[in-house]
Symmetry: C2
Subunit: 340 residues, 2 copies
């Protein structure tokens, strides 16, 4: 175990190492019409023209998108549901109903996660951990979100037409999944860094980027230290959904600690839309990093255009109740390192 | 790996085996005044006289109880927070705010889970998996619930004084945690069975026991098959919070498949209260199995009065939104096998 090699048996580690080469065998993605006008439109498995996906409610549409992404990832890997031993999933809806109902449909043994918009990297981390240790032959990690279900749960009814402040982001309508297994020439999951909950006292629920940036910085820096690497060792450092403002804060926070990520950092929220006035700071939501990572980024990793990627999805762990009771926004970011 | 020994490399397994003897080093528990009138009152670390625990809201009280249980488990193990590499926790509140805010307070790297009232066994399973594989030196698994926060989130404001139907259960006010590590003479976590989401079409949100019993039966039977054991091999088969009605259904469902658990099955929800008229079928909530398991049961395991226990917490993965949209209640149960 790396634990002993590094000789810090009595110190806390946040980074876990996978010696047995767990890999991403295949990804599956689906995204809404608005999302597909950006570069990711050319990489997703299904580009929706109707964001209801044939369902009667936004929540059911979100769940169906998640199911689609899971089934498509399994199919893209040349597998069937029976080949998957565990499904790791969660979403933004209360009691993660999208994931729970998708798990009901799939029949795959299910471990429910909640990590808000950092669910994708938590799922990949735990999937790799399960496969690496031989607990599962293959795992599927998945998450998604829907603009309309998130708006009405976290903010206001859409019908109200509330004005969005300039620091706000736009929740991505879409879902992404990947199948993790061993063998083959997939994209290797080398290690993963478990995030801590970080809270700098931001209370503005419309400014998720500012709230989440410190958690992302904390995890990235811890990752660099645990792995004895520097930002320039990576072709890409990919954060989840900090948006434009949050990304600037992340760069500043890293620089303060002596890590310059300005050259190779990209945020999924900045590339999931052609940034126009409506979305302000860019994309957010659990589906944001799930769609971007499992379509565009995974494709580039497979083609070896990126050789080493550090993917740190970012989550804000607030609820309407916690905000209503005057709490600030606790945030988290989990990171996984991928190599082609 | 057991995977190869058993020679079913190409079949799905739901049970994972821990060869390196991960153990429960210590537990920590806290429960409300009503809960402490039952047998568990003599086993918890703190028996509350005020279920607000000095806080201004029910949700904050729930979070503080969870924090207390975590800190107390760590302290009971003769450890400090720095000795714990990962916290695995979730709860019933939207966006698991109790767990997220407890993680903020603890500063321990955090993996958020959502598995409703089966969170305790999901947490123990993943904690054992992390420790067994050498990913973490020690993990803490924790969950809790509060009667008043659950009532107002899932059902009605308490002030409304809604009549409770006879099939209903009473959400436990309390929290439980355990520290999982290696070495020593703790209670061994031998294996764990990952549950599937099972839904028999129950739509009555006041009848959680009936909704969850089929999921519990499915996991128990799968566990018996995967481990080549029978109910009589266990001193105790402990379900989470099926209550009196759900427990009867569980026994019937198991018997239908040829497994007679009637002699050694006990449900945490049946023993957490002196059953009086108010609670009808008994206790429920994530705190139900967390408190009972980490106090009374763990104590009996440590004293070797129980030598082999199968603990299957049970969760209903519904939300007010899913019920409002006409969905039935998807349920899950994860099982862990413990030996003293």
């Amino acid at each position: 175990m790396r634990l002993n090699i590094l000789g810090y048996m009595n110190e806390r580690r946040q980074t876990i190492f996978f010696e047995n080469e767990p890999q991403i065998i295949a990804g599956g993605t689906i995204a809404g019409p608005k999302e597909c006008t950006s570069i990711i439109g050319g990489y997703v498995d299904m580009a929706l023209t109707d964001d209801m996906f044939g369902e009667s409610t936004f929540e059911k549409a979100e769940c169906s998108m998640l199911s689609y992404a899971i089934d498509r990832a399994i199919e893209n890997g040349g597998l069937t549901r029976n080949d998957i031993d565990v499904m790791l999933s969660g979403d933004l809806l209360n009691q993660i109903i999208s994931a729970s109902f998708a798990a009901r449909k799939s029949g795959i043994p299910f471990l429910g996660l909640y990590s808000a918009c950092s669910t994708m990297s938590e799922g990949i981390m735990l999937g790799a951990a399960m496969v690496n240790a031989g607990y599962a032959r293959r795992a599927v990690a998945a998450t998604g979100s829907h603009f309309a279900s998130a708006e009405r749960q976290y903010r206001y009814p859409l019908e109200q037409g509330t004005t969005r402040p300039p620091q706000s982001q736009w929740t991505v309508t879409g879902a992404g999944a990947c199948v993790i297994g061993k063998g083959g020439d997939g994209v290797k999951i080398v290690n993963a860094t478990i995030g801590k909950v970080i809270d700098y006292g931001v209370t503005d629920v419309n400014n998720m980027g500012a709230a989440m940036a410190p958690a992302c910085a904390d995890t990235l820096i811890r990752h660099f230290k645990d792995t004895s690497t520097l930002p320039e060792d990576y072709d890409l450092i990919l954060s989840g959904d900090l948006g434009a403002l949050g990304s600037r804060l992340l760069k500043d926070l890293c620089e303060e600690k002596g890590y310059d990520i300005s050259v190779n950092h990209v945020d999924c929220g900045e590339i999931v839309y052609k940034v126009i006035e409506d979305e302000f700071q860019g994309g957010s939501g659990a589906g944001c990093s799930a769609v971007v990572f499992n379509s565009y980024i995974l494709s580039k990793l497979k083609d070896k255009l990126f050789k080493r990627v550090l993917f740190a999805a970012t989550g804000a762990l607030l609820s309407t109740t916690s905000s209503g009771q005057g709490e600030s926004i606790p945030c988290i970011s989990h990171a996984v390192e991928l190599r082609s």
